[in-house]
C-alpha cells in the first residue's frame, strides 16, 4: 500500500516529467569551461560556456579543489568578470598550485557537471596589452628612423621581478597587407630603420610572459615619416655622375689620340709614294706644277732604246795629276760640304725599298755608294733639263752629300736619297746664276773647314773643283790642302761601272796608296755630277762610257763652267751648252765619250727626281 501510495508522487512526477518533455523542459546541458586566464599572475578568471538550458532557468556554479586538498570551494565572484565567469581574486589565487575546476549547471529538472579542468595559474598568464605606445621620428646620419617606446601593462608587476614580460611589435606602411614583426625581448624601446620617405606607418606592440600567452595587439599608432632624400639613391646618383664623368674623359682622350689609336688598331698600309710629289703644291692648288714635278723627262722612253739606254752610263773623267789632286781635295771638300749640309730628310717613305743604290751602299760600303751616287747624278743631270731648280749649291751640296754620304758612316747612307730630294729644296734656295757657283764654292770652302770624316773611303769628287779650276782653283787647293792631310786614309778605288738597274756589280775597294788618289780615275772611274741650275742648265760632269756616248760634259775652262743641256739628241744625248757666265769653251755635243777634265766637267747635277734607269749618258 505504502508502495502504492509512495508511487503516486512518483507517477505524478513521471507524468509531469513526461509532460515537461513534451514542452521541452529538460535538465541543463553540460557546460563547458572554455578558458581560464590570469592577467598578472595574481588573479585569474575562468569562463565557461553553458550548455542547453533545457527550457528552464538554469544556474551555474563553479567549484574548485586545490591540489592536495579535498576541500571544495565555490567560486567567490561570479560577476566581476562578466557573464558565465568566475573571478579569483588575490586571496583566492595560489600560484604553483593545481586547481581542479568544475562548473555545474542546474535547473529545475536537474544539473549537469562539466568536465573538470586542471589549472596552474603560472601557465595561464595572458597579460594586457602594453600601454603608452609612443612612436617618434628621429634623425640619423643614414636617415630618419622610428623610435617606438612603450610601457608594460599597468597591472603586471615587472618591477619586483614577479613577472617577466617579453615584447613584440609590428610595423607596416599604410595600405600594405603584410606586417613586419620584430621581437624586442625585455626592452621597452625599439628602433625601426629603412623607412620610406614620406610614408605613413602603423605600429603595434604586444607582450607575453616567459611561459604564457601573447597579449592582444595594442591600438594602432600612426606616424608619418617626413620627406627626405634617401642616402642610397644619393649614392647611386654619385656613382652615375662619376662614371659619366669618366666616360666623357675617356671619350675626349680617345678623340685626341684618335690618330694614334687608329694607328694602333688599323695600322696604315704602306703604299707607294710618289717621288717628287709635293703636297704643298697640291695644297696650293696648282695642280699643274704638282704634276709637272712628277713628270719625269724621258719617261716613257720615246726614242728607240737599245740596251744601252737601260744601262747606267758613267762619265769618264779624265784628269791630269792636278786635277786628280784637285779632285781629291774636292772630294774632301765635297765631303765637307756634304757633311755640313747634312742630309735633308726625305719624305719619301719608299726610299730604299726599290732603291738598289741604297742597297748597294749598304752592301759595299761607302765607295760603292759613292759610285752609285755619282752614277745617279750623272743620269739625273742629264735629265734635268726641265728641272729648274738646279742650284749650284744645291747640286754641290747634294752631290757632295751624295758623295759623302756613303763614306761618312752608315748613318750617312740616308744622305744618299738626298739626291732624290724634292725639288723644292732646290727652289728654296734660288741662286743667281752667277753667284751660284761662287756660293756653292763658298759653301764648299766653308765646308772644307770641317774635317772630313776619317772613314776609310771617301771619295769626294767635287764637281765644284772642276768648276773652280779657274778662279777657285786656289781655294780648292786650299781646301784640298786643308782637307788633304785630314784624309790620311786612302781612298778606295772606286769604279763606276756601267750596269743595268743601277746595280753596281763590283766595286773596287782597293785603297790607293797615297792619300788622295783618284785611282782609275782616268780609265775606269766615272764621275758624273750633274745638276740643273735655275736656268735649266745642266751642269754636267760626265764621264762618258764608251758604249753610249753622250755628250754630257761641259768643258769648263776655268772657274765655273756649267753647260746647259739643250736638248736631247736623237740618240738621247744631251747637248750641253755652257752657261754664259762660264768660261766654258765649247759645247761638246758629241756623244763621244770624251773624258772631260774634272774641272771642266763640273757638272753638278742637281736634280729632283731623276729616273736613273732611263738616264742615258
Amino acid at each position: 500500500m505504502r508502495r502504492a501510495v509512495g508511487s503516486v508522487p512518483l507517477l505524478l512526477m513521471l507524468f509531469f516529467i513526461g509532460h515537461a518533455k513534451e514542452t521541452r523542459y529538460s535538465p541543463p546541458g553540460k557546460p563547458k569551461l572554455t578558458s581560464c586566464r590570469s592577467p598578472e599572475k595574481e588573479t585569474f578568471t575562468c569562463w565557461w560556456e553553458p550548455g542547453s538550458d533545457g527550457g528552464l532557468p538554469t544556474t551555474y556554479a563553479l567549484y574548485y579543489r586545490k591540489e592536495n586538498s579535498d576541500a571544495v570551494y565555490e567560486c567567490p565572484d561570479y560577476h566581476t568578470a562578466g557573464e558565465n565567469s568566475c573571478f579569483f581574486n588575490k586571496n583566492d589565487t595560489s600560484i604553483w598550485v593545481n586547481y581542479n575546476i568544475t562548473v555545474v549547471a542546474t535547473n529545475a529538472l536537474g544539473s549537469n557537471f562539466s568536465d573538470p579542468v586542471d589549472v596552474d595559474v603560472v601557465y595561464i598568464v595572458q597579460p594586457h596589452t602594453p600601454e603608452n605606445v609612443t612612436v617618434t621620428v628621429m634623425e640619423d646620419k643614414d636617415g630618419p628612423f622610428l623610435r617606438v617606446s612603450w610601457e608594460p601593462p599597468r597591472k603586471a608587476d615587472t618591477r619586483s621581478g614577479w613577472i617577466t614580460l617579453i615584447y613584440e611589435l609590428r610595423v607596416k606602411l599604410e595600405g600594405e597587407e603584410e606586417w613586419e614583426e620584430h621581437r624586442a625581448g625585455q626592452q621597452k624601446m625599439f628602433n625601426i630603420f629603412s623607412l620610406r620617405s614620406g610614408g605613413m606607418y602603423l605600429v603595434q606592440v604586444r607582450c607575453k610572459p616567459d611561459h604564457g600567452f601573447w597579449s592582444e595587439w595594442s591600438s594602432t599608432t600612426y606616424i608619418k615619416v617626413p620627406d627626405y632624400f634617401p642616402r642610397e639613391t644619393s649614392v647611386w646618383i654619385l656613382i652615375a655622375v662619376f662614371s659619366a664623368f669618366i666616360f666623357f674623359i675617356l671619350t675626349w682622350i680617345l678623340n685626341l689620340k684618335s690618330n694614334s689609336v687608329k694607328h694602333c688598331l688599323l695600322p696604315p698600309v704602306p703604299g707607294p709614294k710618289i717621288k717628287g710629289f709635293d703636297k704643298q703644291l697640291l695644297k696650293n692648288g696648282r695642280s699643274e706644277e704638282v704634276f709637272s714635278a712628277l713628270v719625269v723627262p724621258g719617261f716613257p722612253p720615246t726614242t728607240s732604246s737599245d740596251c744601252e739606254d737601260l744601262l747606267v752610263e758613267y762619265l769618264e773623267v779624265y784628269t791630269p795629276e792636278e786635277q786628280e789632286l784637285i779632285l781629291e781635295e774636292g772630294k774632301d771638300l765635297q765631303e765637307g760640304c756634304l757633311k755640313s749640309k747634312g742630309s735633308p730628310s726625305d719624305s719619301d717613305s719608299g726610299r730604299g725599298s726599290c732603291d738598289s743604290h741604297t742597297l748597294l751602299m749598304e752592301k759595299c760600303g761607302e765607295g760603292e755608294g759613292k759610285e752609285e751616287k755619282h752614277q745617279e747624278r750623272a743620269q739625273k743631270g742629264k735629265r734635268q733639263q726641265k728641272h729648274q731648280t738646279g742650284w749650284e749649291e744645291g747640286d754641290v751640296s747634294h752631290t757632295r752629300e751624295d758623295v759623302l754620304s756613303p763614306d761618312m758612316s752608315e748613318g750617312r747612307v740616308k744622305t744618299w736619297p738626298s739626291v732624290f730630294s724634292p725639288l723644292p729644296q732646290y727652289s728654296s734656295r734660288p741662286l743667281d746664276h752667277q753667284g751660284s757657283l761662287e756660293t756653292a764654292r763658298q759653301l764648299c770652302l766653308s765646308d772644307s773647314l770641317f774635317p772630313p770624316p776619317s772613314t776609310s773611303s771617301h771619295l769626294s769628287y767635287n764637281a765644284k773643283e772642276g768648276l773652280a779650276l779657274g778662279s777657285g782653283q786656289q781655294e780648292f787647293y786650299l781646301g784640298k790642302k786643308q782637307t788633304h792631310p785630314s784624309n790620311p786614309q786612302s781612298q778606295p778605288r772606286w769604279h763606276l761601272q756601267a750596269h743595268s738597274d743601277f746595280n753596281i756589280s763590283s766595286m773596287d775597294r782597293k785603297q790607293a796608296a797615297s792619300g788622295l788618289q783618284l785611282p782609275g780615275f782616268r780609265s775606269t772611274e766615272y764621275v758624273e755630277v750633274q745638276r740643273v741650275n735655275q736656268e735649266d742648265m745642266v751642269i754636267l760632269q760626265p764621264l762618258f762610257s764608251s758604249s753610249c756616248q753622250r755628250d754630257g760634259h761641259l768643258q769648263i775652262g776655268q772657274g765655273e763652267d756649267y753647260s746647259k743641256v739643250k736638248g736631247e739628241d736623237g740618240d738621247s744625248c744631251y747637248t750641253t751648252s755652257t752657261a754664259a757666265s762660264s768660261q766654258v769653251t765649247g759645247k761638246p755635243t758629241s756623244c763621244a765619250g770624251t773624258a772631260m777634265p774634272v774641272q771642266e766637267e763640273m757638272v753638278l747635277a742637281a736634280n729632283g727626281y731623276v729616273d736613273a734607269a732611263t738616264m742615258l749618258l
Binding site: N68, S94, V122, S160, D210
Partner: protein
C-alpha cells in the same frame, strides 16, 4: 768516493728543486697580461644564474610535454601522488614571496635545487634503462642535461649567496648551505630508492620538476630585483 757522494747530493738537490716546482704550482689568473681581472659582479652572477634556471625550466617543460603527448594525451594533473618537495615551504604568491626576505628566499631556492639533484640522476638512469627505446633514448639525453644543469645552477646560486653575504646584502644568518637531502620527504625518497620507476613515475616526476624549476626561476628574479633594482626589472 767523495766526489760521487757530492755529485749525488747535487743531483738530489736539483731534483728536489725541479720537482718542487710543479708542486708549487701557483694559480694564474685566466685573464691575460694587461687585462684587468675582475670577479663577476653580483649583477653578472644573477644574470647567469637566471639564464641557467630559465634553460633548466625550458628543458623540463619540453620533457614533460613529450611525455604527455606520448603517453598520456589527456592527462594533465599529477594525480594522487605528491611531489617530494612538498615539504619545502615555498611562497605561493607575490606577497608571500616579498614578505619572505632575501635570506629565506635564497634558502628556499637552494633547498629546492638540492632536493632535485638525486631524483634527476635517477630519472636519467631509469630512462636509459627503459625498454621503450625510441622515446627514452631521446629523452634520456635531455634528462642527463637537465641533471647536470641543476647541479651547476645550485653551485651558481651558492656563489650568488656568498657574494651577497660579501656585499652585506644578506646577513650571515643563513645557515642552510649543505645537506639538502635531509629535507626530502622520506616517502618520496624511499620510492626513489626502490628504483622501480615506470612511465607514470617519469611523468609525475617531470611534472613536479617543471613546477619547481619555475619556482626557482621566479624566486631568483625576485631576489635579483629586490637586491639590485635595475631597468631590467
Amino acid at each position: 768516493v767523495r766526489q760521487k757522494f757530492y755529485s749525488t747530493v747535487w743531483v738530489a738537490v736539483l731534483a728536489l728543486v725541479y720537482l718542487d716546482f710543479p708542486i708549487r704550482v701557483g694559480t694564474a689568473a685566466i685573464c691575460a697580461h694587461g687585462q684587468e681581472c675582475h670577479a663577476p659582479s653580483l649583477a653578472d652572477l644573477f644574470d647567469r644564474v637566471i639564464q641557467q634556471s630559465s634553460r633548466v625550466h625550458g628543458i623540463s617543460s619540453e620533457l614533460h610535454s613529450d611525455y604527455e603527448q606520448y603517453f598520456f594525451p589527456s592527462k594533465n594533473h599529477i594525480g594522487k601522488r605528491k611531489c617530494h618537495t612538498y615539504s619545502i615551504l615555498t611562497p605561493a604568491d607575490k606577497e608571500n614571496a616579498q614578505r619572505l626576505g632575501r635570506e629565506e628566499l635564497t634558502e628556499v631556492i637552494l633547498r629546492l635545487l638540492g632536493a632535485w639533484g638525486d631524483p634527476l640522476s635517477q630519472l636519467h638512469r631509469s630512462m636509459t634503462q627503459d625498454q621503450n627505446q625510441d622515446f627514452n633514448h631521446y629523452s634520456s639525453n635531455k634528462a642527463l642535461e637537465m641533471s647536470d644543469m641543476v647541479h651547476e645552477l645550485r653551485s651558481g646560486v651558492t656563489k650568488v649567496a656568498e657574494k651577497m653575504k660579501l656585499l652585506g646584502v644578506i646577513s650571515n644568518a643563513l645557515g642552510y648551505m649543505s645537506s639538502p637531502e635531509s629535507l626530502a620527504p622520506s616517502s618520496v625518497s624511499s620510492s626513489y630508492e626502490r628504483g622501480d620507476f615506470n612511465s607514470i613515475d617519469h611523468h609525475d616526476l617531470l611534472y613536479c620538476f617543471r613546477r619547481d624549476s619555475n619556482k626557482v626561476k621566479n624566486y631568483l628574479r625576485i631576489l635579483k630585483c629586490t637586491t639590485l633594482p635595475e631597468l631590467d626589472c
